[in-house]
């Protein structure tokens, strides 16, 4: 389906989907959202691009392989366990640092953000793996 209208629309809707994914990822600890929803939205952006163009083109242009995304996410989930483990707290305790920025006020950073980012990367990798292995099966033999 080589529709020019759809390709132009994809150029803008892709950034909208990625922006919603980033919003859901960053506020997911206190509000609806989180790593899984953000991963689904970011995967949907790539699926939409593969609907507008062809799957082969998206697979060729994609900078990293889906397995790399998946394993990077899993390693990041494992890294988020380390700070609580090294300071003799119970397993998977959230460790927070709260630096005070000059204009924006207090910024809450912690291991749940690292955990959510890991889930985001691994869910995106799984969705891309589904898409590419269903549509281009000869690349995955």
């Amino acid at each position: 389906m080589n529709s020019v209208i759809l390709q132009i629309a994809e150029k803008y809707i892709r950034w909208l989907l990625l922006f919603f994914a980033l919003t859901a990822l960053l506020r997911g600890h206190h509000f609806p959202g989180g790593g899984f929803i953000a991963g689904l939205l970011a995967g949907l952006a790539v699926v939409f691009r593969s609907l507008a163009y062809s799957e082969e083109k998206v697979f060729r242009d994609f900078p990293v392989r889906p397995v790399t995304l998946l394993s990077a996410g899993l390693i990041m989930i494992l890294l988020s366990f380390l700070p609580a483990w090294l300071t003799n707290r119970p397993f998977m305790t959230g460790v927070w640092v709260k630096p005070v920025l000059p204009l924006a006020g207090e910024l809450k950073l912690g291991t749940p953000l690292v955990f959510d980012t890991g889930i985001f990367l691994s869910v995106t990798g799984v969705i891309l793996l589904f898409l590419f292995s269903l549509k281009i099966p000869e690349k995955w033999k």
Binding site: I13, L16, T23, A24, P32, L44, V47, F48, L51
Partner: protein, 83 residues
Amino acid sequence: MAITIFIFIICAGLLICILRMVLGPTMADRAIAMDTATTVSVALLVLLGLFFDRYVYLDVSLVYSIISFVGLIAIARYLEKGI
């Protein structure tokens, strides 16, 4: 009181969409009825967010409308040349 009347009107619109989805002679009619039902339910979500005073429903309706657009594109591509 006014919001209750609005919600009844929107639910009537949803019922009409479901009727077209059941009756629709071709597959494209059903797909269009599904997309219209999604748009109507986005309006229902916004009204419920106003009624319950939860602004989170607005974000849900934004993401839901974009996802329904991508889903309709996928259905159109399936109807035209198959997956």
